[in-house]
Structures are given as C-alpha cells and as structure tokens.
Symmetry: D2
Subunit: 406 residues, 4 copies
C-alpha cells in the first residue's frame, strides 16, 4: 500500500461492495473509514464485527473490500468527503488527505443509476438513467453494472448495499407479493416500481447478497423474498438502527421488564444533512416514521402515546440530535419522567454498520445460508421477518450465530 493506491492485502480476500447511493453521506463515510482502517490511520471503534464474540468469525478483512456503486449526484466522492470534513469535522483533515487518492479511484467506478419514483430525493441537477427506458431495460443495465464491476476487479463475491436516499412509500405493495407477480410487473413495464426494487431485484437475481440499509421498499416485497429464498441469496433489512431508535430498543425493555406503564413517549429528531432534507418531505418520511414507531409499539404493547418527529435544522449538518421525553406511571399511580438527548454524527454511526453488514452477509453467503438473516436483526429498525425489537435479545441472536460458526 506504499503508493497511495487502494489495494487489498490478498486476492483471495477481496470482496466487492456495491453501494447504491455511493456518493451519499453514509457511503462516503463507509468508504473513508474502510480505507483509513486499511491504511492504519484509525481504529475499528463502532464496528460490531471487531468485538467479541463476532470478531471470532472468519470474516472478509476490511482492507480487502473493493468499492463501487451507483449514484445520481453529479458531485464527486472527494468533493462530498471534503464537504463532510468542513461541515462536520468528520473525517478530519489528516485522514481525508491520506485517503483522497483512494476516493478518486473509487469515484471512477460509480455508475449513473435510476431514480424512478424517488420523489423529493431527486434534485434538478441529478444525472440519472432516462426515465423513459423500459423497466426491464433498467434492470438489465443495473445488472450489467454489477457484473462488469465484478469481472473487472476479479471479485469472487459482490455484496450490494442500498444506502440511497429514502424513497416515498410504495402504495399497495401486496401486488408484488410473489416472484411471479413481480417479474410479470417488470416485464409488463409497470411504472409504479420504485428504483429500490429494481436495484434489489437485479442484485438478488444475479446472486449477489443484498443489504437494505434504508427504509425504502427494496427487499421487503414478498416477490423479492421469494426470489432470494429460491436462489438461496442472503439478504436483510431494513432501515439501519443507529441513533434514537437504537436507544429506544435498549431502554424500552427496561420499562417493560419493570412493569412500568409508559403513558407517552415523544421523540423529536433534528438533523441538518441531506437525509434530513429529504425526510422533511412528508411522502419520503412515511416509511422512516413507521419503522421508528414500530419499535416501541412492539416492546410496549400498552403504550399510551407514541410520536416521532424528524425536523430539518440546517446548521447541524450531519449531526443529529434527538430529544426523547418519556412519561410513565409506576406503583401507586405515581407519574414519573425520563428524558434523554442523543447527539451523534449520523453517518459516523451508520458507516461501521455498513462494513459489519457487508462482512456478515458475505459470511452467510460463503456458508450457503440464503434468504433472510434474522441474526442481523439488531442492525435494523424494522428487521424483516423478525418480531423481536429488544436490542439486547437481538444481539444475543448474533452472538449465538457467532458461537455456532466460530
């Protein structure tokens, strides 16, 4: 690694990582982090896979991850990283300088994506596939991008991760409940299918493990799940659990366990990044709010009132602050309160989980475990196919998996 070029330690250890939304905050921070770790500039704090017992698994090394992706933003990865440095202070100037070459190289591997049905996420100046293309052609194009990348870099395995902007919720998703229905819709050029579904379909159909880091529809459709089961491709989602919801999933079980009656749980999130701007749009926020809200309803079925707000506060840049107010009743009808604030750099919380998830679905794929990956539930606000929302119990499932495969 002497010459500043991104290069994995060993050919056998090279795993491709295809990021849909590759120039976004989360993607950029993931790439910067992976390269900074590879270059020995930073530690692995924040990565679940670098801590016992998960670290005992035989996982693809971080310095062997080879990045590519889709995006619709005209700005380069380097420019995006510089903006994060200037606005958030993360990454710091030194780290960015050291990985700038890597970023430039990776930026060349970012292809133009599709933005059908992406709502407010799509700005005027975005570069995207022609909206008039037939759905099937779009899918073929995406698939082609995956394959070209895999071949060019001679990768044995390619993991696709959706870290693109949150899409508006899809109306009546049940119509795509079977593989058959979904594939028919693609063939019949159904104009309702959103971009996230096309990226996901192309990944699963091509045999690439897939992670849905966002609240977008993607792999939640019955048709996708059936396809993944049939083709034995591991996938998991949705909506990574990084901040307020993470805290909720750790705290709510305490109220439940002590039989305390939560009367109201108010959550108010303010954040200043592009994700915040997109979520300020009501249509795009719907999925997010519902995945955030479900956690409490599941852990505290008797909760009286449960609201989540997300507001855009430009000066905060990538910093997200949540204020939660919990009004509860205890013994002898005594009313009590807990409040918390959480102040985190949103993408610095998310990025290590992207790397964790890539490594863990690659591990499942290597061992031939296809379909949904419930042992990854702790990473998501709305883990597909898993009812358990208690963070501690979700983690125990991951630890059991680690014990079984060590």
């Amino acid at each position: 690694m002497s010459d500043g070029r991104e290069q994995p330690a060993d050919d056998a250890d090279r795993t491709g990582v295809w990021l849909v939304g590759a120039r976004g905050n989360v993607a950029t921070m993931s790439i910067v982090g992976a390269r900074a770790i590879a270059r020995g500039l930073t530690g692995t704090t924040g990565m679940v896979t670098e801590r016992e017992p998960v670290s005992s698994l035989d996982l693809p090394p971080v310095d062997g991850l080879v990045f590519g992706g889709h995006d619709i933003a005209p700005e380069s990865l380097v420019a995006q990283a510089e903006r994060q440095r200037d606005r958030n202070g993360v990454p710091d100037a030194e780290t960015l300088a050291a990985v700038r070459g890597d970023l430039a190289e990776i930026d060349d591997r970012i292809e133009v994506g599709t933005a059908v049905n992406c709502g407010a996420a799509v700005s005027e100046d975005s570069e995207r596939l022609d909206e008039r293309l037939a759905v099937r052609d779009v899918v073929d194009q995406i698939r082609d991008d995956y394959e070209t990348f895999r071949e060019r870099h001679d990768l044995e395995r390619l993991v696709v991760v959706n870290v693109a902007s949150t899409e508006p919720e899809l109306a009546e998703p049940d119509r795509y409940d079977t593989r058959d229905a979904l594939e028919r819709a693609i063939d019949e050029d159904d104009r309702d299918l959103p971009a996230s579904v096309l990226y996901t379909y192309a990944a699963i159909d091509g045999g690439h493990p897939f992670v849905n880091f966002t609240p977008s529809t993607g792999n939640t459709l019955g048709g996708i799940r059936e396809l993944a089961a049939a083709k034995d491709v591991p996938h998991m989602g949705r909506d990574a659990k990084t901040g307020e919801t993470l805290v909720k999933s750790a705290l709510a079980p305490m109220f439940a366990g002590r039989n305390l009656q939560v009367m109201s749980w108010e959550g108010h999130n303010i954040l200043g990044n592009k994700d915040g701007l997109v979520l300020e749009d009501e249509a795009n926020a719907a999925g997010k709010l519902s995945s955030k809200g479900d956690v409490l309803d599941s852990i505290l079925p008797d909760i009286g009132h449960n609201r989540v707000r997300i507001d855009y506060t430009p000066s905060l840049a990538d910093w997200k602050t949540a204020w939660d107010y919990i009004h509860f009743e205890g013994f002898l009808d005594t009313e009590m309160k807990m409040q918390f604030t959480w102040e985190g750099s949103d993408s610095a919380l998310a990025a290590p989980l992207v790397l964790d998830l890539v490594r863990l679905v690659a591990h499942a794929d290597e061992r031939g475990n296809g379909g949904l990956q419930p042992q990854l539930a702790s990473f998501f606000k709305a883990p597909i196919g898993v009812d358990e929302h208690d963070f501690s119990r979700q983690l125990d499932r991951l630890y059991d998996y680690a014990e079984q495969h060590r």
Copy 2:
C-alpha cells in the same frame, strides 16, 4: 375486609414480612401499596411479579402479606405516611385515608431495633436498644422479636427484609469470612459488628428467608453466606436497583454491544429524602457509591472515567433526579454524547420491588432452594455472587426461573 382491618384472604396464604427500618420511606410505601392493592384501590404497576412470565409462578398473594418490623424512629407509620403524602403527593390523600387503619395496626407490631455502628443514620431522638448490651444478647432479642411475631400471627413463613438506613462500610469484612469466625465474634462480643449483620444473622440462623435491600454489609459477609448455605435459607442482596443505576444497566450494554468507546460517564443524583441526607455523609455513602459505580466498570471494562455523585437537595423531598452525561467515541474517532435525566419518586420505585422480592424468596423457600438466589440479580445494584450487570440478561435469568417453575 369490610371493617377496615388488615386481614389476609385465607390463612394458608399468609406470609409474614418483617421490615428492618419499618417506618422508613421504602417500608411505608411498601406497606401502603400492599394494603391499597389488597383493598382494590390501586393496580400492581411497577411489580415485576405481576407481569408475564413471572406472574405465572405460584407466589404468595399480596393481600396475604402480614407486616411487622424493627425501627429506631419515634414517629409512627401513620405520621410518616402523612408526611410522604404532603411532601411528595404519593400516596394520594384518598389512598392514605383508606389504609390508615391498617397502618396504625401494623405500627403496633414495630419493635425497637439496634443501631450499633450505624453512623450518621442515628439521630438524637431515636429509640434503640441499649448500646451496652452484649452482642449475643442483641441477637437473641432480635430473634425473639421475629419468633413472637410469627407465632402471634400464626405465620408459616416469615421473610425478613432490610430497608433500614445505609450504614457506614465495615472495615476489613474478611475477618468474618467464615461462619465460625462470625459466630465467634458474636460470642466474644466484637464491638465492630454493625446492626445489619445482627439482623441478618438472627434471620438466617432462625431459618427466615432474607433480603438485603440496602448497601449495608448484612448478608455480604462470607460467614453469613456459609450459614445460609448450611441451613438452606434463601437470601439475596444487595442495594436495590431502582433509578439511575437501573438505567445504566439497561443503557451501558448498548454502548458495549455497538463497540462504542465510553470516555466519560458522569452521574449526578440529587434527592431530598432522609436517605439523601444520610448519604450526604461520606462514610455512609461509600457503599452506595461503590455499588453504583461497579455496574459500569463491569459492563464497560474500557471505560475512561466514571463518577457518581449524590447530593442532598431538600426541596425535592422523595423525588430523585439524576443527570447522566455520557461522552463516547465512535467510528473515525468521532466524539458523541448522550445525556439523560431521570425523575422518579424514590420509594415508589422501590416499594413494588420489596413486595416482589418477598414473594420470590418465599417461593424459593417453599421449594427448598436455599442460599443465594442469582435469578434475583436484576433487582440489585450489586447482586451478591453474580457478575452479570446487563439488566436484560439478568431479567432473562428470572424468566428462565419462571419457566422452570411454572
């Protein structure tokens, strides 16, 4: 129950509860709560034993609990309850009016206790056993009080619970590490033994299940533990986990599980009740602070800085507010923060746990399970003989016990 007299539903279901510190905040609230539940005036919110899966156990009914105890305070139980009503609003006027007769009756069963080596907890006007009495005589007197109560009320089982003021820490507790050493000390009139040890010894030696709700020495001594094992008497402690420490034990595992590096965790407690006043005295606070501090050190072995403060703020009465500030580092060395405040009525949080613990050690006793009760770890800040401080995992032990015995 038509005539306002305290009376259990059924003779077979009568379990004695002997409270050491029977006129304190926690004791009063426990008695008021139990009687209010018995009279159908309030629900059982806050009681772990009233929620699945623990509620499936065959536990002594709340309305069958018969209360008595020791104290050194001259003020009656009724007067104490009235002060709590006036200062804290808990219990409310209506509830207190309805149980006032029960309290008066129970107050007659409170005997004068010993206060040797109790430090700042002992005020001028307290009524207590003569300090010049020989230790053995004090033990005999206490034992006698237990038996008289049991016989008079024709109780099959008597559970002793220490809810007295926190004592100063005992120097060199190792000298009482065996039953032999402890009994020799009692016989040889060792003037260092504190009251909590005498109450505990008398309970265990008399075959009465015992709960140490306080940070005081009591059943932590090796000698007591050996005795309890030999006599097969169930006991557990110490220092009930009701507020800030409870939250810590639910939250700290989240930081650990996500491999986030906690650099500093500052905890500042302010409270206005007598417990707060006693803990303002440094000697008496030592045990409390250490049991509070251990939780974090255990769950987060790499923690950088961990401090707990307890301050006395008279206007708060029984309300305790904790402010915790958590400074942690994540991916790419990003510094982030979480803060919380917790505002609870201290004794309203503690009281339901007193009832839970009475019921659960009675259950163990009924089934012949003597010695320490690790399944009760979730109730304590410093669970004797248990290393696990993660609240969720501690609860799982209780749930496993419930499954096994349902």
Copy 3:
C-alpha cells in the same frame, strides 16, 4: 367571610372581572387562586403585582375581585376545577374544597357566549348564541351581559379579559383598520368577524378596560385601537407570555448582548390540556406560532433558523414541557450549544398574570390613562404597539410606571 360566601372586604374595593372563556383552565385557576388568596389559604407567589416595586401601587385588592363571564362549555366551573385537581394535582384537594362554594356561586354568573368563526375550539356539545343572529345583535347581547353584571353587583369598574380558546387567524385584518370600517362591518352584518372581536368591541365601546390574554384577533385590529383611543379605555394584549416564550425573552438577549451568533433555535412544546388539543389544529395554531416566533426574530435579527412546534401529549394534562435547542457560534467560529427544558403547569403560570393584568388596567383606568398600555408589554408574547421583546427591558418599563405612580 365567615360563611363561605364570596364577598369583598369593602364595597369601595370591588372590581368586576369578566372572563370570556370563564370555565377554561386559565379562568378556573385564576378564580380558584383569587378566592384561595382571599380566604388566606395560599400566598401570592407568581403575582408580579405582589412584589416590589409594583406592589407599592394602589391597586384593587385581590379579595375585592368579583368574577363573572361568558363561556360556551356545558360543564360547570366546579366540575372543571375538580378535573384539574384530579389530572394535574393543582389546585390541591384542600384548597378546592375550601373555595368550592365560591365557584358554584360564580358559575351562576357565567352567560352563554358567541362562537362565530372559532374553528376547532367549538365542540359539538357546546352551548352558544345562535349563529344566525345578526352581528349587531350579538354585540348588543354581550354588552348587555356586561352591564347587567356590573349593575347587579354594584361594581364601579368592570375589566373584561379574553381567556377563551385561541381562534383561527383572521384573513386580511387590514379591512378593519379604522373604527369606521369596523363599525360599518358590524352594522352590515359582516360574517367574517370572529367572536374575539365582538367581545372586545362590546367591552371597549362600553368603556370597560380590556385584556387580550390570547393570540386571538380581538384588540389587535386597527379599528378597535382607534375606538379605545377615542374613548380613552385602557387595553392591552396579546397572548400572555408564561412559559417557553418567557424564557426565550430572558435568554435571547444574553446571546445578543454577547454578540454570539444563534444559528438555530428549535423549540418543541408538548402539552396535554384542551388548549393543546385546539392548537394541534393548524388553523388555530397559526397565531400562536407567529407570536411565539416573533420574539426571537426581534431580539436576534440575524438568527439563522427559528422554529416552534406545539404538540398534544394527552398524559401531560395541564403540564407543558418545552425543550429548546440553541445552536450558536462564538469566537473563532466555534460551534456551541445550549438546551433547556421547562416543565410548568400552564394555567398555574397564567392565572396570577390574569389577576396582575386586571389590577394594572384597572389602575390605568382609575388614573384616566386610556389606549394601549406599553408598560404591560412584559406580560405578552406579542405586545401590541411595542417593539421591545427583551423581558428585562419590558419589566423596566413596568417598574418605571410603578415609580411614577407610587
């Protein structure tokens, strides 16, 4: 006052207080408080007129206030006070019991009001003047109610205070910019005029000092102000400053004074009373949000971002909690933060100000000072005719007034 009947100390000191919205939270708490003070059951904490230098003014005594009013709610004042006691703990049981007779007597003096153009504030079961009545007839009816009350109780002076639910904002208020235009509209049966304007017009035209405690249109109209000036009737408003906005008006000047650049000031209010429910309706909230927002814009003209949210959280009852997050920049572009939470009983904060305002406009009236009362600016979120929002400076105006008239 031996027999539980409401009766002023001395005939000369009797001042009538006509509350529009007389069975609401604020009105009820004002009446309960005034009567509790009159009966020596509570102190005058929270009343600005009971503290130097304002207390040196020759003001009507609290025990000489005689209450009456309009409302459209079917529930009695006693029932309303009982609900406040049960839900909020304020007033306490003892106080309410002692003034219950007074409340019942006052309730008989509450007349049915008009609810034209009151939007969401008007529920199905409300009792109100027939909406088909001509505007002029409604005004006459209201005026008649004022006079009848004044005569029946032989009052020298009657102060009218609007404490009714917030109305939706009036569109194009400029059309009523002159007395002439307003009176023509009344005569021509203009169906756009909202209830608050009718109550206010009737008061001012009848020569009764008037206070607009709410954000509703009332005395903000140019036409009303011209009339009050012409008739020399004192009046002031609008929207009493009791909680979050009060804090803002004390804190924002600190940032300004130190030349710190506020980039974002987020305010999030949650409350559970009927006012909260009404404000949850967007139309009714508009006026409130704008008067709350103006304070910051005025004190911090360079503020970057300024948002206020009001959410309805039923379990809080009359308790309002505000969380404010202030993101500011200092020397060397250093970003810093201040946050606060404010937890107050909304009507307990408002009620003493109602009494203060009644006494102070009565004082102005007695001295022949008609028109707007800028010395009362500190009481309002949007003081009519006053640009100063700095709480400390607003108070200085009141103190100057007190010095001049002592």
Copy 4:
C-alpha cells in the same frame, strides 16, 4: 502584513497587552483570535465591543494589540495552541497554521513569573522566580518586565490582564485594606501575599490599566483599590462571566421578575482543561465557587438552596458542560422545574472578552477615568464594587457608557 510578521496597522494605534498566564488556554485563544482577526481569517463574533452600541466607541483596533506576558509553564505558546487544536478542534488547523509565526514571535516576549502562594496551580516542572526572593524584589522585577516591554515596542499604553490559574483564597484579606498596610507588607517581606497581588500592585503602581479575569485576590484588596484611585488608574474584575454563571445572571432575573420562588438551584459543571484540574483542588476552587454562588443569592435573596459543583472530566478537554436544575414554586404552591445544559468551549468564550476588556479599560484610561469601572460589571461573576448581578441591567450600564462617550 504580507510577510506573516505580527505588525499593527499604524503606530498610533498600538496598545500593549500584557497577559499574566500568557501560555494558558484563555491567553492562547485570545492571542490566536486577535491575530486571526488581524489577518482577516475570522470574524469578531463573541466580541461585545464589535456590536452596537459599544462598537461606536473609539477603541484601540484589534490588529493594533501587541502581546507579551508572564508565565511559569515551560511549554511554548505554539505547542499550547497545537494541543488546543488537537484536543478541542479550536482553533482549526488552517487558522493555527496562519498565525503560527505570530505566536512564535510573541512567545519570545513571555517572561518567567512568580508563583508564590499559588497552591495546586504550580506543577513540578514549572519555571518560576526563586521563591526566596524578597517580595519587594519580585515586585520590582515584574515592574521591570512591564517597562522593558513597553519601551522595546514603543507602546504608549500597556494593559495588564491576569489570566493565570486560580490561586487559593487569601486568608484575612482585610489586613491589606489600605494602601499603607499593603505597601508596608511588601516592604516587610510579608510571605502571605500571593502572586496575583504582586502582579497587580506592579501594574497599578506603574500606571498600567489592569483587568482581573480570574477569581484570584489581585485587585480586590482594599489597598490596591486605594492605590488605583489615588493614581487614577482604571482597573476592574473579578472572574470573567462566560458560561453557567452568565446564563444564571440572565435567567435568575426572570424568576425574580415573575415573583416565582426558587426553592433549589443546583449547578453541576464538568470540564476537562487545566483550569478544571486546578479547581478540582478544594483550596483553589473556593474563590470560584463563591463568586459563582453570589450571583443567585444577590438576584434571588429568598432562594432556598443554591449549590455549584465543578468536576474534572478529562475527556472533555476545553469543553465545559453545565447542567442546572431549578426547582421553583409558583401560584397556588405549584412546584415546577427548569433545567438547562450549556456546552461551550471555555476559552473560546473567554478570549473575546479579554480583547473587549483590554479595549474598554484602554478607552477609560485614554479619557482619564481611573479607579473601578462599574460599566464593565457585565463581564464579571463578582464585579468589584457593583451590587447589580442582573446581566441585562449590567449591560445597560455599558450601553449608557457607550452612549455618553460616542
């Protein structure tokens, strides 16, 4: 200023600034800030003298300030600034790089100071004047340092500012209540006199305007004040008001003005810089805690309970977080609460005030206004000779001064 050398705009505008504690956090940030402003790299946010109405005064320009000082720390100004950049992120890398040459030049002008009676502030490796020197000789040496600097840089005026570590409180300061007593003590080699007094005496006696930015004794002595009055030298102090106390002085008047009864005001400060470490030492903290506490006692004479804690939390570096909990009572004995947290970079808050104060005492000196400067009260926690602690009123005095002299 093309060549990176520190150079004032114009000879006539050159004002000397002698910082006692010139390598400390506050001093470093003041120097960095002044030079960054001079070089056009940053704005003047945070400077009171750069905002109307104070900015209308004819003040010495920031780019004309020429820095020198005393310290006992072996580490250079550049090293200190680098540590601040690395630990706090302030100053940022770019700014520091641009002023590094200036810092190096200024560092050469820092002389070794005295550290008599400085307690815990003096570490092993500090370089300081021999403690065996006679007091009079120390004073002469200091005076000489001032003069040499003034002459070498051809400065018309030199302002001395104490920004050294907080000293332990002086016992029985009354013995130095007159100029006579003080000068006798110096001549008679009184070993109790602390360093701050010697620096101050030398300044005032030499005719140099003086600012006591710290809680140390310095110019609070009667003897010093008499001397300054006699010699007509302007001086002011003590203990700059930058964080929690500033907020208190803005908020407490609100509670007073609304006649709300503050029952408890708890303040808990955590900070990680050297000032925090020194204040962790009880002797050194005494003065600080008392000047912080006085503000509330003065504004809220009826306050029930008022405590301030300062704790050292290393990971926070120069960031200070205060949590304040205010428990107050309002109308009808209703208990309510306000809480705030304040998170600021301690020295970034202090530094602009150092520049403000230098400019403002220079202004007074220029106009021949000697002695205490009450118009500067708003800058201090314990303004000498001023009883007013209400921030808004203190500011009004400054604004009046500005109006008078514009």
